[in-house]
């Protein structure tokens, strides 16, 4: 489809998307390198759960680049006006953009998984956990969903800084959603906390057990809900 090809061309010519690609591979494999002294059943998987910065950047900038205003001295325009005059159907535009994000996020997830598991298996040798197709599929799913969540949130906010900061901090420095699990067990149903269950067996001081399948369902519901909300808002408001 032409609109998807146009969105892929946009992503491919945005420097921050290339940065996202580098982050996607370097962050989880780098953490795996640092952690490789400690074997465990979740080694590699845990790094892939917390190393999702690359796809967060991807999902955010795919949208925020549309809203970035040119400086007042260069006329104060935004790319979004060009996008919507080329593809005026809001639903088609948003669907094409989401599809392009998925088409980039999936190969990034594969590359990151290969790099991370490669590091784990080289460093831990026979102490490394055997690869499991179901868990690896969970990683790819989690990464793709995370990109789509970042995408939908940025559509709602029309600006990249806040979602980028909040989502990156949450996944790296202080996991707010994880800390909230100390306050209420409901926090285990946040998309990141639930989605990780697709491939991470144990989350520190687990008080709520969520099966991989339930994790998939919970995160799917979050993604579907936020995408539906984002497209409802996007189709109704002035560009």
């Amino acid at each position: 489809m032409r609109a998807v090809r146009a969105e892929l061309a946009k992503l491919g010519t945005l420097p921050s998307v290339w940065l996202a690609g580098v982050l996607a591979v370097v962050v989880p494999s780098g953490i795996a390198m640092l952690n490789s002294g400690v074997p465990g059943p979740d080694r590699g998987y845990q790094e892939l759960a917390f190393g999702v910065m690359g796809v967060i950047v991807l999902g955010v900038v795919a949208v925020s680049s549309e809203y970035l205003t040119e400086g007042a001295d260069s006329g104060g325009g935004r790319q979004l006006t060009t996008s919507l005059t080329a593809v005026p159907s809001r639903v088609r535009f948003l669907a094409a953009k989401a599809a392009a994000v998925v088409l980039v996020a999936v190969p990034l997830a594969f590359a990151a998984t290969a790099a991370t598991m490669g590091v784990v298996h080289v460093r831990l040798a026979e102490q490394a956990t055997a690869l499991d197709a179901g868990r690896l599929a969970g990683v790819v799913c989690y990464w793709t969903y995370t990109a789509l969540l970042a995408f939908a949130i940025t559509v709602l906010l029309r600006h990249g800084i806040v979602p980028l900061t909040v989502l990156l901090v949450n996944t790296s420095v202080v996991s707010v959603t994880f800390l909230l699990t100390k306050v209420t067990p409901l926090a285990y149903y946040f998309p990141d906390m639930a989605g990780m269950r697709m491939f991470v067996g144990e989350i520190a001081d687990d008080r709520v057990m969520i099966s991989p399948l339930l994790g998939l369902l919970v995160m799917s519901a979050w993604v579907a809900g936020l995408l539906a909300l984002a497209s409802a808002v996007f189709t109704r408001r002035d560009a």
Binding site: R2, A3, A6, E70, R78, T81, L84, A86, P88
Partner: protein, 246 residues
């Protein structure tokens, strides 16, 4: 869909009727209507804040009207089967992301319309940006950004051109280029609708004039009709919009 096939008589015609837009409880368009026809340059004139940009944004489907219709070829812009080949638009600035090159920007637009990549080089040459095509848009001057916007609008060689303040930020040479260019578009049977608050700059370019003031159309007609007994278009404009607080 039956309505996406234009009636022959409506090809290239812009029809605006009864357009109402409210923002923050204030009525910024109070039921305006006018037409722009093929083969003519229509100047949509008014002071800053009169509602020109709002009208053009609604016409392009970017903003929503509270009432009324704005049609290109007899259909709302979002329902056009092939928008890039039907209508080109020049709005604020360049409409491009600053970290992309001019050529990369035009390429994705061309791709969205299924246009050949060779067309990108044609429009770059047409607006005189060939030498800057590999530069990032962030490094463009205001005038270069405007040329890039014009190149984008021309990609699909559309029968309708819609331009919001196209002369803003252009040097005298650029103004002359745009004027001559728009005259030629009209001569070849295309429709040109441009907004401006600069009357003096436009008198030589436009055939038809629509004057808007505080969300209302205060005059429409040919340049001669609107100028009427006044010395020139500028005098007529100030007489028609007097007291609007400029």
């Amino acid at each position: 869909m039956w309505f996406s096939r234009p009636l022959a008589s409506l090809v290239g015609v812009i029809t605006i009727d009864g357009l109402v837009k409210r923002r923050g409880g204030k009525e910024i368009l109070a039921g305006i209507g006018f037409e722009a026809r093929p083969g003519r340059v229509t100047g949509f004139l008014g002071p800053n804040g009169a509602g020109k940009s709002s009208t053009l944004r609604i016409l392009l489907g970017l903003d929503r009207a509270d009432a009324g219709t704005a049609l290109v070829d007899g259909v709302p812009f979002p329902a056009l089967a092939d928008p890039v080949r039907t209508a080109g638009a020049v709005l604020d600035g360049s409409g491009a992301h600053r970290s992309r090159t001019g050529r990369a920007h035009l390429r994705w637009v061309a791709r969205s319309a299924g246009l050949p990549p060779a067309r990108v080089d044609e429009v770059l040459a047409l607006v005189g940006l060939t030498d800057a095509a590999a530069k990032r848009v962030g490094g463009y001057s205001l005038g270069m950004g405007r040329r890039l916007a014009l190149a984008t609008a021309l990609l699909g060689d559309p029968s309708v051109l819609i331009l919001d303040e196209p002369l803003n930020g252009l040097d005298p040479e650029g103004i002359r280029f745009v004027r001559t260019f728009l005259r030629e578009r009209a001569r070849s049977g295309r429709t040109v609708l441009l907004s401006s608050h600069l009357m003096g700059e436009l008198a030589e370019t436009v055939d038809d004039v629509v004057v808007i003031d505080r969300g209302r159309i205060v005059a429409t007609g040919t340049l001669a009709e609107v100028t009427g007994a006044h010395r020139n278009l500028e005098d007529a404009f100030f007489a028609l919009t007097s007291g609007s607080g400029r």
